[in-house]
Structures are given as structure tokens and as C-alpha cells.
């Protein structure tokens, strides 16, 4: 067993779990934070994407014990509280119809949030590159790409043209 201490969405938690427990299992099974999903077993689909110590990670590929001592933000923690307005990326997905079945959505949102905070280039190629690790079967990605731009406009209201450019390839 491994002792895992994490700050998850601003709350400190401590659990003893089997050594092989993945971070995603820790979040879903121990903490019942089921917004983080498991869509594959080869680290391809990105449905399990969370933020660990400021970096976007696939939580199916990190042991809970490895993450111990760190701070995790999941889709449930993007807003300060349950009655707070939606985070700009969450809102952009709604406004742009960037989701259908919703299963890939939490991972998409976490990836987009990280991307827009780190390096918000908004041409199609840059956005598609940023989304390479997140798979969606429903939307064809068209409206997800739109949602990235929509969120960027809200997150960087003074960025000018960069955030409002139309499709570029």
C-alpha cells in the first residue's frame, strides 16, 4: 500500500491505496470525482486529462503515488464553486456546441484550458496540434476548434485579432 497525499481542487486528501493505483483510479474510485473519464488503455484518448502541478497530464498514465504531494485540478475544480459561473472553456463548449455525448468533454476542456493558458496560438494547425492527444467520436472536432477560439476571446479580451481570427490552415 502507498500513502497518497494530494491537494485536489483545493482540498487536501490523504488515502492509503494499493501501489499500482493510477491517478485516475484514485480520483474516480477513492474521491468519487467521476468527471474524469477513462476512454482507453494506451494513453491515446485523453478523456482522463487533468492538471497536475500546473501541467496537463493523462491521469491514466500517472500513478497516484507518483503524484503524491502534488496539486490536482479536475474538471470539477475548474469553477471555484458549484454555483459559480462556468469557466470560460466550459462556457465556450456549451456556446459552440462543442460536445455531443459528453464523454470526451472533461478531458477536452482540461486540455484546452491548459493550452490557452500556456500558448494560445489560434490558427487551426496549432489548435489541432494541441488537441492531438484528445479523441472525440461525435463532433468531428469542428465545434471544439471553434470553442477554443471562443474561450480564448473570453480569457484574453484584449488580445485583439489573434483571438478572433477565422479559420486558418
Amino acid at each position: 500500500m502507498a500513502e497518497v497525499q494530494l491537494r485536489v481542487n483545493g482540498t487536501d486528501v490523504r488515502r492509503d491505496v494499493p501501489d499500482q493505483t493510477l491517478l485516475v483510479e484514485f480520483l474516480r474510485e477513492e474521491l468519487r470525482l467521476t468527471g474524469t473519464h477513462v476512454g482507453c488503455d494506451t494513453s491515446q484518448c485523453g478523456a482522463c486529462t487533468v492538471n497536475l502541478d500546473g501541467v496537463s497530464v493523462k491521469s491514466c498514465t500517472v500513478l497516484a503515488a507518483q503524484a503524491s504531494g502534488g496539486a490536482v485540478t479536475t474538471v470539477e475544480g475548474l469553477r471555484k464553486s458549484d454555483d459559480a459561473p462556468l469557466h470560460p472553456v466550459q462556457n465556450a463548449f456549451v456556446q459552440c456546441h462543442g460536445l455531443q455525448c459528453g464523454f470526451c468533454t472533461p478531458g477536452m476542456i482540461m486540455s484546452v484550458d491548459y493550452y490557452l493558458r500556456e500558448q494560445p496560438k489560434l490558427d487551426d494547425a496549432s489548435i489541432c496540434h494541441a488537441l492531438e492527444g484528445n479523441i472525440c467520436r461525435c463532433t468531428g472536432y469542428v465545434n471544439i476548434i471553434e470553442a477554443v477560439r471562443h474561450a480564448a476571446r473570453e480569457m484574453y479580451p484584449n488580445a485583439g485579432d489573434a483571438a478572433t481570427e477565422a479559420h486558418q490552415r
Binding site: 494499493p18 499500482q20 474516480r28 468519487r32 470525482l33 467521476t34 468527471g35 474524469t36 473519464h37 477513462v38 476512454g39 482507453c40 488503455d41 494506451t42 491515446q44 484518448c45 478523456a47 479536475t74 474538471v75 470539477e76 475548474l78 469553477r79 458549484d82 462556468l86 466550459q90 462556457n91 463548449f93 456549451v94 456556446q95 456546441h97 460536445l99 455531443q100 455525448c101 459528453g102 464523454f103 470526451c104 468533454t105 472533461p106 476542456i109 487551426d124 494547425a125 489548435i127 489541432c128 488537441l131 492531438e132 484528445n134 479523441i135 472525440c136 467520436r137 461525435c138 463532433t139 468531428g140 472536432y141 469542428v142 465545434n143 471544439i144 476548434i145 479559420h167 490552415r169
Partner: protein, 778 residues
């Protein structure tokens, strides 16, 4: 409200992580299941020794197929033959040249033989998922490996490995539709004959939510409960009751949020049956969740249809007759014959074909069973038709748009009855193609081809026209209740797997009852309150559900008028209903819809004091003729050095009928298109032809479309109204996918025409394209 691009009301829970998919649910005291799956495509099970697994830590039970039979249960009847596309009182296939239509009941774990790689053999139930999984590795199976056959045409050969007793020659059925002799006579005299074989490739469904199922059993009432995402709870309930030999009242199916459907999840899976069976045996709830590797080996797959087409043309390019041979790969179990039914019905598509015949064979192979996959036979049929028109145009030296114009069903011929018996009531086929060609810049393409050429690239353009058929389960039900507290409750038989019913159904009701969208809520997916309904497939939800929403809303208004009339002491004819309010046209007195509901809760309705709810229900069990139609153009570039295909742009003009929510309709077109592009260019479901081994078993091998797969789009909605339903709905779920592989392959053939006219294999991966370009001359 109808026609407005409203953001979806269900999205809030999904974007905040509050969706509730099956694996998100935990049953206290529940146990976990894992399945041992066959590593062989075909093998006799000499023995299955589970003794070591039973002793493993945390293991509660290990079950095999014989246990299921010993418990007195039977296999699931998947009801593989669908309801006819025209007459909802009969089946699509009634007779077979083999004597009967084969339908093998599907037991959850086989007792004699395994028939595909990934078929479950034994089920371990343990205290944790890990303990269950680890124990599967302790099961000792003695296999007698048999020859396997995975290609449907191979399986029809004499001497091919045989899958099931009762299906000689691996044929589930074989049937002739249309007059083959007449078609052959005409083709024999035709000035131009085009022949070609197409293999519309197999695809993996790959919904993002891995399947999951929770089984429970209540001893006191003898009730089984299945909690599991699917495309329709009612069908699952019927199947479970039949397999478990209990009345329908002893089965409840609950469908939480479902992470994508696309067709295969309409049908029941053996794992869903196994968990409820195990729950009864163990007296505990049992949960199973697939991982992605299992999904690649066990989720029902799509397509895999071989069509050998023979078309006779006149000198001026008119189709004189079609004689097709259609070979459908059913896989190892008789789950569904829908693709063969849909594909042959729509075979002549939007063209005025005088004589058409098709010989259909449904063939068992050592592969994952196939099921309808978005479009289900219609993309295959359109692929063949549209490729054949391009081939004929080349032979006749005709423009590819012109040969289509000459064959399209003219608008003044509507209603038009196709040789396959479908009656198209609407559809501006020629206009749609003209518009798509105009939007795509078809006439100026040669300049762009030359520019690409100058850059060392091969540019091509292709067009395809499409039409769909109004199939799927014909039975549907809606219940509508207006509640005094200011809410309208819809109970619908059909349910969403991502299509946004909570929004669109609310839009329809809000419009017809004059209430805010936010006041309308939709309940679905639990047979505790849903008695009838066919689920989401075949564009049926708004076509059938919408009709019933309009019907029940009208009933609500009629009842409300009676109540208002009694209050106003006037005749109901004197009461009008406008924007949520009943008005006495004489005195102008008014009462709101919700106040009427409150009045009924207090005093009942006039002449019926016992009815205390403003409630209506309606049911349908018939075909509603509605044919979504449109035209698509694809322009692409091929890099001859690498074989990489880049879609440059894609145009689609779609007549979905009246769009209830254009935002959602466009999203449906995008999604269907991505699946079509994936099948055409990257999604290789590669099963080794000799051994039946699956070589594309993960997202590392299988070419799932990623962001960027869809090129810049020009989408336009159009409508030539249908009168078959009050909302003029035709359907939008399959618009993107139906013409997609045809359009792309026509564009590819155009780009590669200097390298000959052989058919490219599907999917046209860079390897396929490069080898085509560099193949030795014939």
C-alpha cells in the same frame, strides 16, 4: 423556438463533470466482473478448467456457459431481421433461397466453440476489478484450434470452415430482390456495361465511452435490473426477458448518460446479460466495465459489405438496369441483418433506374458480429452507385455532373416509387446537386488542378448525391404532463446518446404549448416509467417522437380548452389558445396553461373528476415516409511521393427537413462526416485473412480521426418539404456520413486517373495510395 440554434440544456452537466455514465455509478456491496476472452478466431473448447481461478484471492465465483444453461436460461434472440422499410407489419426478409432465415440464439458464454478473437469464454466475479481480471489469467482452457474464415466471400467458398450447424455454407440467408433475369437481359443488350467489385471496409464503432453494465436482482420480487448505457432501454428489456424466461414485468433496464451510440449499442451484448444472470446467482450486484482493448475485440463492428455491381447504360449515359450481388459479413453471431436490408432498399438512390435487381447473401465469419453503424447499408449503397456513375462517365466520355443530371429523379416525377419500392415524396435532387457544385466551385476546378500540379500535387474533385430511407424501429411513445408548479414533463421512449433530445424535444413542446424551453424537462431511459420506445437510430427520434410531441401537445390544448371553457362558462369552441394562455374570445378572460393544470389537480376535468393531471400520451407503430437527401462535393490533394491524401475542402447541401435546432443538425453533419472520412482514409480494422487475428486493437494502430481530420466545410441546409409528418422532419443524423466515402473515393479516382481505373482499396491510407501510384502496369 423551433428552428433556433439554442445551446443545449444538457451541456451544463457534461462540461462540469456531472454527467452520469454507467461506470460513474457505484452499487454499494457490489462485486466486479472480468471476462476471459478467446485468443483464437475459431477453436473447439475441449475443456475450461476454472479451479485455480476460483481459489484466487478475492474471487467470488467463476462462471462458464454450461452454468448459464444449467440455470435454465436460453440465448438471446437478437431479432436480426429488421422490420420492413415500407410495411411495418412485416419483416424485411421473409424467405431465403437456403430454405429458412438462420437465427442463432446467443448464449453469453459459448459451451462448444469460440468463433472470434475476443469472444468471452468465462466470467470471473471478484471483490475488486483487479482481482477479477487477475484471476481470468488462471483459467486453463484447452483449445482445439480450427481453421478460421474472416472474409465473407471466402466463407461462401466450398470447403470453407463452417461456423454453425443450421447455416450450411455459412449462409444466414440468401435472397433475390427484383427480377434478375430481366436485369440481365437488359444489360446483355446495353451499349455500355460497367462491372466492378467494391469492399466497403469494416470499421470499429469506437464510441468514446467503453461499455459498462451493472446487474442486480431483487429476490423478493424476482426482478432483474440492468443499468447500462445503450441506444434504447426497451429493446434491451425485451431481450433480457426472453433470454431469462421471465415476464417483461420482472425486468427493469436503466440507461444513464450514454457516451455515444452510432448503431451497435441498439443491440444487447452478452456482457449485459451476464451481469444480471451473475447478480441473481450471487445475490449481489455485479458490475463490469470494458477497457478499450476489449472494446476493439468485442464491440459490434460496422460495414464490411462486398458488392459486385453490374450496370447497363445507354449511349447517352442513362442507367438501363442494375444487377448487383450483395454479400454482407454478419460476423460470428446473428446480431443484425439491417445493413443488407437498408442497403438494398435504397440501392437506386436518387436516380431513376428502370430495372434493378440484387442478390443478397448474409454470411457468417470468424469475426466480431456486425451491426448497423451510422448509415447502416446506405453509405455502402451510395458508394457503389456514385462510383459506378463516375466509371460510366469515364467510359462514355461524359461530364460527371452531366451523367448524374441525366439520371436524377426529376422533381415533377414526385412522388416517385423506386424499383425497390420506396416512395420519395419530396427532394429537389437536381437543385441540391447544382447548389453543391456551385458552392464547391466545380466549374473552376481545372485551374486549381493545374496549380496543384505545378506544386507536384495531384488534385481531384468528386460529387455524390444521396437519399435515405425512413427505417428503424417503427414503434414510439410520448407522454406529456403539464404540472401546476410551472413545468412540463416529457417521457419519451426514444433516448439520446448525444443528440441533444433534452433541448430539441423541449423546443418542440415550448413552441406548441407556448411555454419557456427552460420549463420543459425530458425523462428517458428507464423502463420503470418508459413502456414503449425504439431508441435512437436511423434518424427516427425526431421523426417519430416529434410527431407524437405535436400530437400530445394538441391533446393538452384540447383538454385545457374544455377546462377553461367550464371556468368561463362558455363552450370550448369559444376558447382559443395563444402562447400558453387560454382566452375566452367573447369576454377576453384568460387563464394560463399551468393554472389550468392546477385547476385540474383540484377539481379534475369536466365530466371526469377522477382525472387530476393535465396529461396526454400518444403512440405510433408505422412507417413515416421521410427521405433526408442532399449532395456533397469533396476536393482533395494527393502527394504522389508519400501517398498522403489531404482533403482541401468539403461541401454538403443537406435537406434534413425542418431543422428543429440548426446548431445540433450541423453538429450531426460534422460528426457523420468525420466518421465517413475516417472510414475512407484511415480507419483500418485489419483482421488477418488467414488466422482471424485482429491487428488493429488499440488507438495506436487504428486510425481514429483526430482534430484536423475535417477540412474546411461549406454546409448549407435546404428544404423541399415533406408532408409525411407535422414538423416536416426528415432527419439529420446520417446526412454527413451517407455520401462521404463515395464523394471521397470519386475525388481520389479523379486525382489518380492518370494511373489507371482500378479500384482503390478502402481505407485509402497513404500506403494504399502510394502502392496504387507505384504499382506495376497491368
Amino acid at each position: 423556438m423551433i428552428g433556433q440554434p439554442l445551446p443545449r440544456v444538457e451541456d451544463r452537466r457534461f462540461v462540469t463533470g456531472n454527467g452520469q455514465y454507467t461506470d460513474d455509478l457505484r452499487i454499494e456491496g457490489g462485486a466486479y466482473a472480468a471476462f476471459l476472452r478467446s485468443p483464437h478466431a475459431h477453436a473447439a473448447l475441449r475443456s475450461v478448467d476454472v479451479s485455480a481461478a476460483r481459489e484466487a484471492p478475492g474471487v467470488i465465483a467463476v462462471l462458464v456457459g454450461q452454468d448459464y444453461l444449467d440455470d435454465g436460461f436460453q440465448g438471446v434472440d437478437h431479432v436480426p431481421t429488421p422490420i420492413d422499410a415500407i410495411d411495418a407489419t412485416k419483416k424485411a426478409f421473409l424467405t431465403s433461397l437456403t430454405g429458412s432465415i438462420f437465427n442463432q440464439l446467443h448464449i453469453p458464454l459459448p459451451v462448444d466453440r469460440v468463433r472470434y478473437v475476443g469472444e468471452p469464454i468465462a466470467m470471473v466475479i471478484a471483490e475488486t476489478p483487479l482481482a477479477a481480471r487477475n484471476a481470468t489469467e488462471l483459467i486453463d482452457v484447452d483449445y482445439d484450434v480450427l481453421d478460421a474464415v474472416v472474409n465473407a466471400a471466402d466463407a461462401m467458398h466450398e470447403g470453407a470452415p463452417q461456423l454453425w450447424d443450421g447455416a450450411a455454407g455459412n449462409l444466414c440467408f440468401q435472397t433475390q430482390i427484383g427480377d434478375r433475369d430481366e436485369a440481365r437481359r437488359i444489360i446483355a443488350d446495353a451499349p455500355v456495361v460497367v462491372q466492378r467489385e467494391f469492399h466497403h471496409s469494416r470499421v470499429v464503432n469506437s464510441q468514446m465511452e467503453p461499455r459498462s453494465a451493472i446487474g442486480a436482482y431483487d429476490d423478493a420480487s424476482g426482478t432483474y435490473t440492468l443499468i447500462s448505457g445503450s441506444q434504447g432501454a426497451v429493446r434491451q428489456k425485451l431481450c433480457l426477458a426472453q433470454a431469462l424466461k421471465v415476464p417483461l414485468s420482472q425486468v427493469r433496464v436503466v440507461c444513464p448518460d450514454t457516451g455515444g451510440g452510432f448503431g451497435p449499442r441498439s443491440f444487447i451484448y452478452v456482457e449485459q446479460l451476464a451481469v444480471v444472470w451473475a447478480a441473481r446467482r450471487l445475490g449481489r450486484a455485479v458490475k463490469w466495465t470494458s477497457d478499450r482493448s476489449e472494446a476493439f475485440l468485442s464491440d459490434y463492428q460496422g460495414r464490411d459489405q462486398i458488392i459486385r455491381a453490374t450496370y447497363g447504360f445507354s449511349k447517352d449515359g442513362r442507367i438501363l438496369a442494375i444487377d448487383n450481388e450483395w454479400i454482407g459479413n454478419v460476423g460470428a453471431h446473428t446480431v443484425s441483418y439491417v445493413p443488407m436490408s437498408n442497403g438494398t432498399r435504397i440501392m437506386t438512390t436518387v436516380y431513376d433506374v428502370p430495372v434493378a435487381a440484387v442478390h443478397v447473401s448474409a454470411v457468417l465469419t470468424n469475426t466480431v458480429p456486425t451491426a448497423p453503424y451510422r448509415g447502416a447499408g446506405r453509405p455502402e449503397a451510395h458508394h457503389v452507385m456514385e462510383r459506378m456513375l463516375d466509371l460510366a462517365a469515364a467510359e462514355l466520355n461524359l461530364d460527371r455532373a452531366e451523367i448524374r443530371r441525366r439520371n436524377l429523379v426529376a422533381h415533377d416525377k414526385l412522388p416517385y416509387r423506386s424499383p425497390m419500392g420506396l416512395t420519395y415524396d419530396s427532394g429537389a435532387f437536381e437543385h441540391n446537386m447544382a447548389r453543391a457544385l456551385e458552392l464547391a466551385g466545380w466549374d473552376s476546378f481545372d485551374e486549381r488542378r493545374a496549380a496543384s500540379r505545378a506544386n507536384g500535387k495531384l488534385r481531384g474533385i468528386g460529387v455524390a448525391n444521396y437519399i435515405e430511407s425512413p427505417v428503424g424501429a417503427p414503434r414510439e411513445r410520448i407522454e406529456l404532463t403539464v404540472l401546476p408548479e410551472g413545468r412540463v414533463d416529457i417521457v419519451s421512449g426514444t433516448q439520446s446518446t448525444g443528440q441533444g433530445h433534452e433541448t430539441t424535444f423541449a423546443q418542440v413542446v415550448a413552441q406548441h404549448l407556448g411555454v419557456p424551453v427552460a420549463s420543459v424537462s425530458l425523462r428517458t431511459g428507464d423502463t420503470a416509467f418508459v413502456s414503449v420506445g425504439g431508441g435512437s437510430h436511423s434518424d427516427r427520434s425526431m421523426r417519430l417522437g416529434g410527431m407524437l410531441l405535436v400530437d400530445t401537445a394538441a391533446q393538452i390544448v384540447a383538454t385545457g380548452k374544455q377546462v377553461a371553457a367550464a371556468l368561463f362558462e362558455v363552450s370550448p369552441e369559444q376558447v382559443t389558445f395563444d402562447n400558453g394562455t387560454f382566452i375566452d374570445s367573447g369576454s377576453a378572460r384568460r387563464i394560463g396553461l399551468f393554472d389550468v393544470a392546477a385547476q385540474i389537480a383540484r377539481d379534475g376535468v369536466p365530466g371526469d373528476a377522477a382525472t387530476r393531471k393535465l396529461y396526454a400520451q400518444a403512440e405510433v407503430n408505422t412507417r413515416v415516409p421521410a427521405h433526408p437527401t442532399g449532395s456533397a462535393v469533396c476536393e482533395l490533394e494527393v502527394d504522389p511521393d508519400t501517398g498522403i491524401v489531404t482533403l482541401v475542402n468539403y461541401t454538403s447541401v443537406d435537406d434534413v427537413g425542418q431543422p428543429i435546432n440548426p446548431l445540433i443538425v450541423e453538429g450531426q453533419v460534422h460528426g457523420g462526416l468525420a466518421q465517413g472520412i475516417g472510414q475512407a482514409l484511415s480507419e483500418t480494422c485489419y483482421v488477418d485473412r488467414e488466422t482471424g487475428q485482429v491487428l488493429t486493437g488499440s488507438y495506436m494502430d487504428y486510425g481514429m480521426p483526430r482534430a484536423g481530420a475535417i477540412p474546411p466545410l461549406k454546409l448549407e441546409l435546404t428544404e423541399d418539404p415533406t408532408h409525411g409528418n407535422p414538423l416536416r422532419v426528415k432527419g439529420g443524423g446520417e446526412s454527413g456520413i451517407t455520401p462521404a466515402t463515395a464523394t471521397i473515393f470519386n475525388a481520389l479516382a479523379d486525382a489518380l486517373k492518370e494511373f489507371g481505373t482500378d479500384e482503390l482499396a478502402m481505407p485509402a491510407t497513404p500506403k494504399v495510395v502510394w502502392e496504387y501510384i507505384h504499382r506495376p502496369a497491368a
